[in-house]
Structures are given as C-alpha cells and as structure tokens.
C-alpha cells in the first residue's frame, strides 16, 4: 500500500516553515530601510548586516524545504 497522498500532505506542511520566515525577513528589511533613512551614510554596513541577517533567518525555511525534498524523493 502506498501513501503518496499522505507524503504530499506532509511535504506541504513541512514547507509551511516558510510562513514565519517570510514575516521575519520582511521585518528585517523594514528595519534596515528605517535605519538607512535615519543614517544614510551607513548604507553599506547596513546592507551587509541585512543580508547576513536575512540569510541566517532563511535557514529555517531551508530546513523545511530539505525535509519536503526528503519526503518527496526518498520515501
């Protein structure tokens, strides 16, 4: 008996990790825009920090994606 439908549902639930990651990245970007508005000459440093912060925040979504891939292709 195959459980393909259940596996597809599980993969979709795993990708839901991206939901709050999107929220967090939006917050990061909005704060960076505010910071550049207050202090325009620090733009380079702020951009670097924003990219690093976004990258580390994104890790959670990537783990969700990894689990979804494992569910879809290995099971």
């Amino acid at each position: 008996m195959t459980n393909e439908g259940l596996i597809a549902i599980a993969a979709a639930i795993a990708v839901c990790a991206g939901m709050f990651t999107a929220l967090g990245e939006g917050l990061t970007a909005s704060k960076a825009v505010e910071a550049v508005g207050r202090n325009p000459e620090a733009e380079d440093k702020i951009r670097l920090m924003m990219i690093v912060g976004c990258g580390i925040t994104e890790t959670v979504a990537i783990y969700g994606l990894l689990i979804a891939f494992i569910l879809l292709f290995i099971f």
């Binding site: 380079d44 440093k45 670097l48 990219i51 690093v52 976004c54 990258g55 994104e58 890790t59 990537i62 783990y63 994606l65 990894l66 891939f69």
Partner: protein
C-alpha cells in the same frame, strides 16, 4: 558497469572551460594595454568589475592579509555561480540545480572555515570547542547544509516553476490556437518570469552565497 553522465556536470565543465579561455584572453588584453593611454572598452569593463569586487570585499574582510589572499577566490566563485545560475537561458542545464555541485561549493567554504578556526585557536582548543558542549558539532555543520540547500532550492524551484508555466501555456495555446502547431502563448508571458527567476534570483543567490561564505570565514578570525 553503469555510468550516468549527468547533464549538469557537462554544463559545469563547459562553463569552466569558457571561463578559462575568457580569463586568458582578457589577461593578455590587459597586459598589452597602455597604462597611460586611454583604455579600450574591454579593458575598462574588466577594470570596473575588478574594482567593484575589491570595494565589496574591502568592507567584509577584517584585515589586509585576508583580503589579498581570499578575494581572488571569492571573485571567481561569484562569476562561476552567476554564470551557472543564468546558464538556463543559454540552453544548458543549470549546474547549480544539481545538489552535488552546490554541496561541493559549500564543502570548500566549510573546509576554509574549519581551517581558519584551527589556525586561530590551536589544535587542543579547537577540538575542545568543537565537541564541548556537543551542540557545537551541529552549529559547525549548519553552514554546510544551509549554504548548499539555499542556492539549490532557489534554482530548482525556479526551474520547476518555469517548466510548469511552459506546460500551462502549451496547453492553453493548444486549446485556443489549435491551428498553429507551436506554443504561441509562452513568448508573451515567460520573458518577465525568466528575468525574475533566472537573472534576478540568480544574481541575488550569488551575492548571498559569496557574502555569507566570506562573513562566516571572517567571523572565525
């Protein structure tokens, strides 16, 4: 014996050969250029790209020695990843949509991080900080997974979405313009999506990969 030659490996070899030839030719051109005269278009383009990379790495690396040692590698890495990401536009399979290749790129970064930490801390302290507390092993392995999966996931999801769009437009054109044998709806919809998924996302992923790897390495110093 069964050997499978994956198309991504072939296209990565093609890109590498292209970059080698390009670098040799451009190097000859720059050597022959007159330093006091007016630069030609090619030399000017090479110089401005190089200056862009130098300015970018100057803001990341903490000291001059690391900058001179590591920035050539990261510049070449950025060029390679960007060409790989947009190679879907030139009828090649994108090498970064194969997990082996992104894992290789992330392994290079991982090795460099660990070697830098080993050099900085000394053998005994390095091993002690690696295994105690035990969660440090996980945090040492995290960059490997997150760096490789990030670029792989982005490029693969882009190409899957593009193939879905091509399927849908093919179905639509078969339904509406059944007297024309080719897919006629796609050229009106897909160029914008190609510009987003291939060029923009490819550029952003290159930027993020190079920035994160160099920041991870310079955090250990």
């Amino acid at each position: 014996m069964h050997i499978t030659i994956q198309p991504e490996i072939v296209s990565s070899l093609i890109i590498t050969a292209f970059l080698c030839v390009l670098c040799v030719v451009l190097g000859k051109k720059v050597e022959q250029a007159d330093p006091l005269g007016k630069p030609s278009y090619v030399v000017l383009a090479v110089e401005s790209v190089l200056t862009m990379f130098q300015n970018f790495f100057h803001t990341i690396f903490p000291n001059q020695k690391m900058e001179t040692r590591l920035s050539p590698y990261f510049s070449m890495l950025a060029v390679f990843i960007f060409l790989s990401n947009i190679s879907g536009l030139f009828c090649l399979e994108s090498p970064t949509s194969n997990f082996s290749i992104t894992l290789t790129l992330a392994l290079i970064t991982f090795t460099m991080i660990q070697l830098t930490a080993l050099k900085k801390k000394g053998t005994f302290k390095y091993i002690k900080e690696l295994i105690w507390p035990p969660t440090n092993i996980l945090s040492a392995l995290a960059p490997l997974i997150s760096l490789s999966m990030r670029i792989f996931g982005n490029i693969v999801s882009g190409s899957i979405l593009m193939s879905l769009v091509y399927l849908a437009t093919g179905y639509l054109s078969g339904l509406l313009f059944s007297f024309i044998p080719i897919n006629i709806v796609a050229p009106f919809i897909t160029p914008v999506l190609h510009a987003y998924f291939d060029v923009f996302a490819g550029f952003m992923q290159t930027f993020i990969f190079v920035t994160l790897s160099s920041v991870y390495i310079s955090m250990e110093v």
